[in-house]
């Protein structure tokens, strides 16, 4: 029995290795010397690594990374500000038309971003906020707000009614109840929504490329895209940037794996 279990583990390790091969390859190429880049067959292991790619990242890509952090933080803040109260209302206060709102949020998630990007483009030209960080934050938040409301609604409807009644008996109004009772117990939902809002804005390429292209502050996805677009053959620098751009995803997985799994499932199953 025990040997059989280890055999299953071995299969699992092989499957995982196969699945993660492209990730390994990204790291491998990021450490490959420019002179070895076109070698056939390619070096499977970076035995003689170079850090030229990473030094290029540090010299050229830091401003992009900073912008992405700023955009991510802004998207998270905006998403929480809009989604948490709405989730509370839909879960506990049952406003008239709440069902319709949930339905609209569900449909909103299904609209292709390319269509949204064109709409935003025409509006941003008029408002003069094309190529600004604020415009990009607004656009990126549209990816996360519907998801956020649905997660908060699902989570907050699980808060026992007695808890809210106790607060009311103690004389707390609805706003007070929300701020000092509901929000503190909703920590898990806040973390899940923040993580996904950050990750999505960090990963966004379409909105960045249509709405912030040529701006003074461009996010990291445009940094990588500029590398590729320049017909730059420095693949170690491109892949090094890709590795650095993957760090938030890695951190997320290490620190917050359970929230990620919960978010994937809840996102699919929104109730």
């Amino acid at each position: 029995m025990n040997r059989r279990r280890w055999w299953v583990t071995g299969t699992g390790v092989l499957l995982t290795a196969a699945m993660l091969f492209p990730v390994y390859w990204m790291i491998n190429v990021s450490l490959t010397k420019a002179s070895d880049m076109r070698k056939s067959p390619p070096n499977l292991i970076p035995l003689d690594p170079t850090f030229d790619g990473y030094s290029a990242v540090i010299h050229q890509q830091l401003p992009y990374l900073g912008t992405s952090l700023l955009v991510g933080a802004g998207t998270v803040a905006l998403t929480l500000l809009l989604a948490a109260p709405a989730g509370f209302s839909l879960a506990k206060l049952r406003p008239p038309g709440g069902g319709l709102l949930s339905l609209l949020l569900l449909i909103a998630q299904m609209i292709p971003s390319i269509v949204m990007a064109m709409g935003f483009y025409t509006i941003y030209i008029k408002l003069g906020i094309l190529s600004t960080v604020w415009g990009l934050i607004l656009a990126d938040s549209t990816i996360a707000v519907p998801f956020g409301v649905l997660i908060f609604t699902a989570f907050m409807s699980r808060i026992p009614g007695e808890l809210l009644q106790a607060a009311r008996i103690d004389g707390a109004g609805t706003v007070r109840t929300f701020l000092s009772v509901v929000l503190p117990v909703s920590r898990n939902a806040i973390v899940t929504v923040s993580l996904f809002a950050f990750l999505w804005s960090w990963s966004d390429f379409l909105f960045a490329n249509t709405l912030d292209n040529g701006g003074s502050l461009e996010p990291i996805t445009l940094g990588i895209y500029a590398y590729i677009g320049n017909n730059n053959q420095q693949w170690n620098a491109i892949m090094a940037t890709a590795v650095v751009a993957s760090i938030p995803a890695a951190v997320l997985l290490v620190l917050a794996q359970r929230y990620v799994a919960a978010g994937v499932t809840a996102g699919a199953v929104k109730d």
């Binding site: 279990r5 299953v8 190429v29 056939s40 839909l90 049952r94 390319i114 938040s141 390429f205």
Partner: protein, 327 residues
């Protein structure tokens, strides 16, 4: 890394869909005191989101429809006084030589992606259902492709599939298979973007199907095992039928998400060579942003065709979901 996240996982396991549905309904029964005052508060809390939806969803969509029924040029785009054109933009889009390939590519891209993502995701979920050492750690690692920025995955696959220096061709060569021009041959470009997209979508299917499997009571399997059902029989006779609701949801969401895919294709092939990997999303982008002379009216028309298709799937999704919640 928390090797298996054991302590954490038990606290908030991905919820099976059925439990969600049941909780949602229990809510309706609760009666609330001071109904009138409560309604104002209830509205106060959702007004920001309603205003937000109106400004950042409804209005852009309205602008999009407006763009598609007028003939905008770059000049009138700025001044905003384009003449009304009715359905002329749509007619020219439908008559375009690119329309048929774009529609066929979109269909192929969506269905082939989903078929492989779902089959592989389900197989892995069944595999991970047995508890073995390291299982939850390995399952966590499987999430990585889904969490990476699409641009990162797409550029990595571009280099892996490079005709001359890519590792995929080197591997094929080692097995004596002739060199394939993955990204530059019209016969292979769609297959290339499909491979990358399937890779990215597997974790999503794995996680959802795994949580679906967790919601099947263990004694169902035990009973079947006692009755002498083989592993294969247990899967087709018990697991698969019980997973049907969760599968329906996963597949429909997969359709809707895959229809929207843009980044991967744009980075890897830009829809080319010629139109060999152009989908509707790529085509809309090409009209609007792909050249120095943007044609926003055609872009909006293609975008609206895409929306209509997405909404059809969305309606099916909503119907399936509400029927599942009733049963």
């Amino acid at each position: 890394m928390t090797t298996d996240g054991s302590g954490a996982r038990s606290a908030e396991r991905p919820r099976p869909w059925a439990a969600h549905a049941a909780r949602g309904r229990g809510q309706h029964a609760r009666r609330r005191p001071s109904r009138h005052r409560g309604q104002w508060a209830a509205w106060g809390f959702i007004v920001p989101v309603v205003a937000y939806l109106a400004a950042f969803y409804a209005y852009p969509l309205y602008r999009n429809i407006d763009l598609s029924v007028r003939s905008y040029t770059v000049a009138s785009f700025v001044s905003g006084d384009a003449p009304f054109a009715g359905f002329a933009n749509y007619a020219s889009v439908f008559r375009s030589a690119t329309f048929a390939p774009a529609l066929i590519n979109t269909t192929l891209f969506v269905f082939v992606s989903i078929a492989f993502q779902f089959a592989i995701g389900l197989a892995l979920a069944v595999f991970f259902q047995r508890k073995f050492p390291l299982s939850s750690f390995l399952r966590a690692l499987f999430l990585i492709p889904w969490l990476l920025p699409l641009l990162v995955s797409a550029s990595t696959w571009s280099w892996m599939l490079n005709s001359d220096s890519g590792v995929v061709n080197a591997l094929l060569h080692a097995f004596g298979v002739a060199h394939v021009n993955w990204l530059t041959s019209p016969n292979w470009s769609l297959a290339s973007v499909l491979i990358a997209n399937i890779w990215i979508g597997i974790p999503f299917n794995l996680v959802i199907m795994y949580s679906g499997l967790q919601s099947i009571p263990a004694d169902v399997f035990e009973a079947a095992a006692i009755d002498g059902a083989s592993g294969w029989q247990r899967f087709w006779r018990i697991t698969f039928p019980l997973l049907r609701p969760v599968s329906a949801i996963t597949l429909l969401l997969g359709f809707i998400y895959t229809l929207k895919v843009f980044d991967i294709i744009w980075i890897m092939t830009r829809g080319g060579p010629a139109t060999s990997s152009t989908t509707l999303a790529i085509w809309a982008y090409q009209f609007g942003f792909g050249s120095l002379l943007p044609d926003f009216s055609s872009a909006a028309a293609v975008g609206n065709v895409l929306i209509v298709i997405a909404l059809l799937f969305a309606l099916v999704y909503i119907r399936v979901r509400s029927r599942l919640e009733e049963s």
